[in-house]
Symmetry: C2
Subunit: 452 residues, 2 copies
C-alpha cells in the first residue's frame, strides 16, 4: 500500500520555535511610533505584555516552547504531512506533491498555534482580558478557545460585514466563550467617529484593529493580541515547518519548492522559515513562494515603505510592503488575505530576494480548491486555495518539462465555514477583481513620510 499520511510521533514534536531574525544578514528595521519618531517603549507596554514584547524584539535563534503550551499543542499536533498521490494522479504530473494539514486543530486552522502561547504569556503576566480583531473569523475563533483554556476573557471586534455574512463563525467564538462585537462599534472613539461619518460603514480589518488596540491601551487589565504580521506570531507558527522537516526526513524526501498563502505572513513564515534555517546552516536552497491574491498584491505590486498596521494610524509603523494603510481590499472570500501590508520579516526577505512571491486571481484559486477536494477529500479554506493554485500550476509545468520536483504546500485550514464561497464558485457567480495601477500609485502619495 502507498503511504499517504506521514505521522510524526508525539515524542518528536519540536521543543523550540525558530526565530528567522537570527539568520538574516541585516537586522530588522526598527518599528517607529505613529508620529514617525523612534517608538516609545511605554506605548508597546500599553498594548502588549512584557514576555510578548521580549519575543517580538528577540534575535535568539531557538525559543523554548513552554511545557503548558506543548501540552495543549499535543491535542492536535504534530499535524499530519500528506503525500497527495491522488492529486498527482489526477494532474498526471511527475512532480511529488506534499501538504501539511493544519485544519485538524479544534479551531480549524493554523491560527491556534499562536493563540495558545499568546494566551499563555498574557496569563503569566497577570492579564485577565484580551482584545483582538477578526475578519474571516479564524483568528477570533482561535483566540476565543485559547482564552477559554487559560481563563482569560476575550473580546473580538469582528468586521461588520463578516459578522453579518458569517454568523456561524460568530457562534463558534461564542460557544468557546468569546464576546463578539460588530466593528465599527460605538464603544471606541475610532468606532464612534467612523459611524458618525457613515452609520452603514461595513467595517474593515484595519478599523477593527484600531478599535481593539484603542481599548487595550485604555485598560490596565487588558492587552491586545494580533494573529499575524508581528515577529512573535511568525515565531510561534514555525512549529509547522519544523514538524514538516522531521516528516520529510522520515520518508527520505526534501522539498524543492514550498508554497503558502500570504496575507499578514504568519502562514507563510510558519511553514517556510525553518527551511530557510536549513539553507542558512549550509543546506540546499529551497524556493520559498508566498502566494497572495491578485486583488490584494502587497508583495508583488506594493511599495516597500514604513506604514501603519491599522487603517486609522494608531499602531506603530513598520517597514513593509504595503498598498497603503487606507487601502480597502475588495470583498474576496479569502478574508485572511485581505490586508493592506505584509509582515516586516517577510517583506525584508522578499526585498533581499531570499524568497519569492506570486499573485493569483480568486476564481482560479477556487478551481484549484475544488480539484483538490475531489482528489484528496479535504475541502480547503479559501486562503489555502491560493497555495494550492500555485502548487498545481508548478505541477503542471513539471508535466510539460518532465521534471519530478518535490512540491510542498501548507494546507492552513479547512473550508467548513466558507461553503458560501464554494457555492458561488460552483454556480458561476464568483468574481475576479482587478487592482488598477493608478490606485497603487495614489496610495504611495498617502503613505506616511518616514525614511526607511
Amino acid at each position: 500500500m502507498q503511504q499517504t499520511k506521514i505521522i510524526l510521533p508525539e515524542t518528536e514534536m519540536p521543543t523550540h520555535w525558530y526565530n528567522v531574525v537570527a539568520d538574516l544578514k541585516n537586522p530588522p528595521a526598527p518599528p517607529m511610533g505613529p508620529d514617525g519618531k523612534p517608538l516609545d517603549p511605554a506605548m508597546m507596554q500599553a498594548i502588549f505584555c512584557d514576555p510578548i514584547i521580549e519575543q517580538e524584539m528577540s534575535a535568539q535563534r531557538w525559543v523554548k516552547i513552554p511545557d503548558q503550551v506543548r501540552e495543549i499543542y499535543q491535542q492536535w499536533r504534530p499535524t499530519p504531512l500528506f503525500r497527495a498521490h491522488r492529486l498527482e494522479q489526477a494532474l498526471g504530473t511527475p512532480a511529488k506533491i506534499y501538504y501539511k494539514y493544519e485544519g485538524i486543530s479544534p479551531a480549524g486552522s493554523h491560527k491556534l498555534n499562536s493563540a495558545i502561547p499568546q494566551a499563555y504569556y498574557n496569563k503569566q503576566a497577570g492579564i485577565t482580558r484580551l482584545t483582538t480583531e477578526t475578519g474571516a473569523g479564524q483568528w477570533g475563533s482561535s483566540l476565543s478557545l485559547a482564552g477559554q483554556m487559560f481563563g482569560i476573557d476575550v473580546r473580538i471586534y469582528m468586521v461588520k460585514i463578516s459578522y453579518q455574512q458569517k454568523p456561524f463563525r460568530r457562534s463558534m467564538m461564542e460557544t468557546w466563550g468569546g464576546e463578539v462585537l460588530a466593528s465599527p462599534t460605538n464603544l471606541t472613539k475610532t468606532g464612534r467617529k467612523i459611524l458618525a461619518a457613515n452609520p452603514d460603514n461595513p467595517g474593515s480589518l484595519g478599523i477593527a484593529i484600531s478599535e481593539a488596540v484603542e481599548e487595550a491601551a485604555s485598560r490596565a487589565d487588558t492587552r491586545y493580541s494580533l494573529g499575524s504580521v508581528l515577529n512573535h506570531v511568525l515565531l510561534h507558527q514555525t512549529i509547522i515547518g519544523l514538524e514538516a522537516q522531521k516528516q520529510f526526513a522520515m520518508v527520505g524526501d526534501y522539498p524543492d519548492m514550498i508554497f503558502a498563502p500570504c496575507g499578514g505572513g504568519s502562514n507563510f513564515g510558519g511553514v517556510a522559515f525553518p527551511f530557510f534555517a536549513d539553507e542558512a546552516a549550509g543546506g540546499k536552497h529551497v524556493r520559498l513562494v508566498a502566494v497572495e491574491p491578485s486583488s490584494c498584491p502587497s508583495l508583488t505590486r506594493g511599495h516597500y515603505a514604513y506604514d501603519f498596521g491599522d487603517s486609522v494610524g494608531f499602531t506603530p509603523m513598520m517597514l513593509q510592503y504595503t498598498l497603503g494603510h487606507d487601502f480597502m481590499p475588495p470583498g474576496i472570500h479569502a478574508g485572511g488575505l485581505r490586508y493592506h501590508g505584509a509582515s516586516s520579516l517577510v517583506s525584508q526577505m522578499y526585498h533581499e530576494k531570499l524568497i519569492e512571491a506570486v499573485a493569483v486571481p480568486q476564481v482560479a484559486t477556487f478551481a484549484a480548491g475544488v480539484q483538490f477536494a475531489r482528489a484528496e477529500g479535504i475541502i480547503p479554506a479559501p486562503e489555502s486555495n491560493h497555495a494550492i493554485r500555485a502548487c498545481i500550476d508548478e505541477a503542471l509545468r513539471c508535466k510539460e518539462s518532465g521534471e519530478a520536483k518535490t512540491l510542498f504546500f501548507n494546507l492552513s485550514g479547512h473550508g467548513h465555514f466558507d461553503m458560501v464561497s464554494y457555492d458561488k464558485y460552483l454556480s458561476g457567480n464568483l468574481e475576479d477583481y482587478d487592482y488598477p495601477q493608478a490606485e497603487i500609485d495614489a496610495a504611495l502619495e498617502r503613505l506616511p513620510k518616514v525614511k526607511a
Copy 2:
C-alpha cells in the same frame, strides 16, 4: 506531561471488520417483503449489489477489509483516542473519560467509514450510479466523496427542510460532485403523490428513503446506498471500536461503560460491538449504552415489532424497536437521530438485554456539548452531544459515589455545520419536545400485522 492523545500506528490499523452476528445466541430475525411474506431475493438485488447483499446476510465473524478501502481509510484513520483530562478536571470527577474522535475524517463524521466500502463494492459490481437520502447531511456528504473517489455518480435525496436550512451541507456535497435534490421531488411516484397532497410538504428521512429506493429499483445501472440501520453498515463501522481496543491496550486501560448516540444504530454498533466480542470471548462485561433523543425514543419507549425502514412502505420489513414507520420526529437538531426505528441487530441485543439504552432531552445535550467544547476544544455534532450528556451524567454520579470508573464515548463528528443550533442554545431559544404516550400507543395500531 500528561498523555491526552493516543495514536495507533498506521501499521496497526485493523485488517478485518467484526460481525456481531457470529456472537449472538439467536440468529437475526429474517427480513420480510413489504407484503409481509418471506423476502423475494430479486427485490434485494434490484436495490443492492451482490457483494453488499452477501455481507448483509453473512454470519462470518471477521470480514476482510479490501486493500483499496484500507488505503483510503488511511487518509484519516486510525483516528485518535483522547483522554479528556481537561473535562475530568472541569467536572471534578474521579472517573477517567476517553473519547474516540471520528470528526477528523474529511467528511467530518464516522459516516465515511461505510461510504467508502459501499462505493467500492458497487464499483466492483459494475454499478455506475448510487442513490441515497440524507437528513442532516453527514451521510450524503460522505457518499458524495466516496462516489467521487471511485468514479460513481451519486444522487442524494435531501429532506427538503434540511435542504433549505442547511445550504452549506448541500454545497459540500456539490463540491465533491454529488447531485442534491430537495425531497419530496416530482421525479418519483412517491414524491409526486406526496406533493399532490401537499405541495409544501417539508419532507422526512422516511420519504427521502422511499424516493431513493424507488429510483434505484427502476434502473439497472443504479443501486441504493444506506448510511445506517443495516447489518453491513454496522459491520463497516466496527473499525471504530476495533481501533479503540488497541488504543486502550496501549495505555493499559479498558472501559467500564461505553456511550454512543443511537439513531439508526451504526454509530453505536460501530463503537460498541467489538467490546461485546471481547466479552463473548471470555473478557469482562462492559456496559454498552445506546443514547437516544427523548423526542425520538425508539429503544426506550418503542415497540419491538416488524416494521418498514421507510415511511411509505417500499422497503423490506425488519424486526426492530420502532415508533411506527409513519412517525414524524420533531425538528430536533440532531438530524441523524430523527428516525422512527433502530437497527435490527441493535434492537435484538437490546431485547435480549445485552445492551442498555437511555433517552436524553435536547437542551441538556447542548449544555453538555458546550461544556465539552470549552474544556476539550472540539465542537461536537448535535448527535454526539447525546453521548456526551450521558457520559457526563455518569461521571457526575462517580463524583458522588467516589468511583473511578473508566468511561468511553464516541465523538462521532464535529459540529461545524450545526452552529445554528448552538446559536439557538446560547441565546436560550432551543426547545425540548415531549413525546406523548398516546402517540406511541396509536402508532402500535398502525404497525404492519406481521408475526415476529
